[in-house]
Amino acid sequence: MAENKNKEKNDKEKKKQENKARLGGMTRLWGLVRKEFFQIMRDPSSIMIAFLMPVFLLLLFGYGVSLDAEDVPVAIVTEGTGNEIQRFTAAFDQSRYFEPTYYWNMKEAVDALMDHRVDGIIRIREDFSRDLVRGGGAPIQVILNGVDANTARLVSGYVEGIWAGWLEDRARMQGTDLALPVELHHRIWYNSEVRSRNFLVPGLIAVIMTLIGALLTAMVMAREWERGTMESLLVTPVRIREVIIGKLIPYFVMGMGGMALSVAMAVWLFHVPLRGSLWLLILTSALFLLVALGMGLLISTAARNQFVAGQIAIIVTYLPAFLLSGFLFDIGSMPEVVQWITYIVGARYFVAILQSLFLAGNIPSVVLFNSAALMLMAALFLGLSRLKTRKRLD
């Protein structure tokens, strides 16, 4: 009986203590968060990473980098004359994809290619008109600079397009129909103008959030170790979870700010359509940010100086987000081994979500699958960093 009473009393006291502890926890957490914000405001380098870098990257990728081939300089070598040839070359003149320069002999054209003045040579032989009339095939030689494989492929496609158009015209003029058994009609969905900006800019948001979430977080944690502030922090009654959450909240806010900035620039500056739901975009971004923050915290458990933390963060988070997320290079065309590796790159899932939300709209299967993957990764990274961060120096 007495024991029971004692126990009750104990329980009550325990609850009281727990309550007090919780209140204390809130005070401590609030103190840490406030401190972090003061530091962010006074340290220009973190603001630079969070807001200036995104603007810089967006401008660079929005204006500077274009994967479209427009006004490609080509050399056209016409060794003969004739209406047929003129009409053929006129098609190049009119195309917005090409900017032709005319040469009368092959040698000059090859020199131009060597000097990178042109990206390709289209050679029409002297006997082109004659062969055409005689029937049995009139060859046109196309030489491309294959160093930039992407442009080469595009140019080759455009040349074929021009050739097909010219054939059609010619047939019409001769009053006969070009009787092809199969007709090809192109229609490009989601990005009908085939602007690379439209898929680069949404993908960039993933890169930017990786930068803020992982790089910045890893570096500011390392800074605490480097400056010895962590040692003083750890001996206070603060709990490890409070230290972690105290870092998560400020950089979560920063990351979402960077995201908002990028979305605003994408929509209003680059006129990238946002076809899906804004709320879904915010929700999935938050999820991805947790993955990035988790990675940053995990790195900081291993690297206790800013230089090393920054290097690791760039190598294991930023570069993969750049190269292996499908934001710049299509995952489907990577070697199979590399494709497998992309599954552990969180940005991969987020890029898929972003590209479909911006260009296609809410596609449940895409959003659900990729969000589930993100959720799993966030839980894994945050859980691991909680386990790995100890209130000790060793």
Binding site: N10, G24, T27, R28, W30, G31, L32, R34, K35, F38, Q39, R42, D43, E224, R227, G228, T229, M230, E231, S232, L233, L234, V235, T236, P237, V238, R239, K391, R392, L393, D394
Partner: protein, 633 residues
Amino acid sequence: MSPSESDSGTQSERQEEPDRKDREDQKDRKGRESALELEGVKKSFQQEKLTIEALKGVSFKTQKGRITGLIGPDGAGKTTLMRICVGLLLPDAGSISVMGKDVVADPLSVQSAVGYMPQRFGLYEDLSVQENLDLYADLQGLPKSERKERYEELMGMTRLGEFTDRLAGRLSGGMKQKLGLACTLVRSPEFLILDEPTVGVDPVSRRELWSIVSRLVEKEGMSVLLSTAYLDEAERCHEVVMLHEGEVLGHGPPADFSRKEEGNAYRVTAQGMKNREIQSRLARGEGVVDSVISGDGVRLVMAADHEPDGEKLLPDAEDVEIASIPPRFEDRYVSILKAEKQKEEKEGEPQSGEASEPGDHENHPGKKDQKKRRSLEEPGGGDGAEIRVDGLNRKFGDFYAVKDVSFDVKAGEIFGLLGANGAGKTTTFRMLCGLLPPSGGTLSVAGVDLRSSAAEARARIGYMSQKFSLYGSLSVLQNLRFFSSAYNLKGKERKERIDWALDQFDLRERAEADSGEMPLGYKQRLALACALMHKPEILFLDEPTSGVDPMARREFWNRINALSRAGVTVLVTTHFMEEAEYCDRLAIMVTGEILALGTPHEIREQASEKSGKEVTDMEEAFIALIEEKDGGE
């Protein structure tokens, strides 16, 4: 902390409740209850393939409401011990309880009772004084209602009240340290642990820090454990634990330590001989345990079975006076460490040369050689002043780091620049070495301005920077090779110099060791060796003894004395006031200005005159001069 642990904790407390009264009675009978109890604490670290035993079974108890000093040379394990006490490190073996709580089992409850200030207190430098305080008040859970009062109290104690809006990074070294202490004390802890709180702090702030700690102990009954490199501070502790290479060598009130040297301490003076000369001769005498310059004489500690004999110790001096004086803690400390070292040497391989007695630098340019060289320069050099500084200024933004500094250093002199961290010593140094252009004034070193003159002049100076700028990932030998080639030494000469450095600085054993992982004392020796590779005529030493323990500092000064005897001009900065006594002349610098200039004796006289009381050591002189200056403004 898991709930089951906290449960067992409260249970055990409850069980103890009935006999608490008994215990209190017992406590009264036995004296005080213990604040800290260590039992067989061991800790080792893995460093690549090497296992370093930082603590080899440490056991001691300290009492509540007392100041316990943790004293020991560099690398003795003081910081490791303190970190274990606050739960930042786990011991490999043994048990520790702080205020009756087991640290290993329940670090959180220990941490809420303990205030810990690490060697480099982690102030957030981009936060203001007030914001730092707020953060620690939040972390320590100080109720909002009590804050105003507590802040006022702390600010009053530390005299930081007028700086609450200033960023912590903009405070002086002493103020930072006081703010660190204020943050640690924000919620008056039961037990205060301070790791070298006074290193690099000016004497005035040092005195303030001590008076804060003493007041806390007296008024609030706080228990304190602090480590220190200043042996005079040991005497202010109630009890002292002496740690050496991870073992406790002694434990007791400081008076008990010094009592053991009763009758062994003397004060030696001799007419017509420099104190430095007396000191270095005494150091080599038979049966001499320790000799240091102190005020206008030399303190001498003899082994218990030796009597000091003036004739024998100083054969060519006149009017040698040897008077018995009361011993102090430092005497005992040095004698314990010396005995320990001899024991080690007996156990290990017998070493040829006594490490603590550096021989003359035979290979160094001898006096003759040096004189010859100088006589060649003399026509241009004028009155033989090697370094001349006139009206030197250096501004950073609108802040004067160095303001109107003038002095000159004569050939073969040891000239000291004395001052706390941030007094402008390093800035002055960098200008002298031509690393930083002055904003105003003129300077010349060996007759030229190093900034404009060519490498030729630089080859005549040696520079040892504050942080011993060595290549940490290179071995000792590789560092020596690098620096000798940087100074253009080749072939046989280079080999000779490297051999000289290895022998002269006792580095041969460690020739292959990574220099970054050696104890500080070794690093310092290697750095000095590197600075001397090219036999410079002028040696610049920037804080050469910072963070180095008293034994290594003695050794270091012996070397500097030997260099000076060989004719090398030495310019040295230090924040250890007692080291000033080794200088021929010195300048005391405060906030970029020279406060006093002269021989140690002259400076003490000046201070005595100004303060109107007898000043016997440099520290008192420094404080008196500062107070006089502050009062005058």
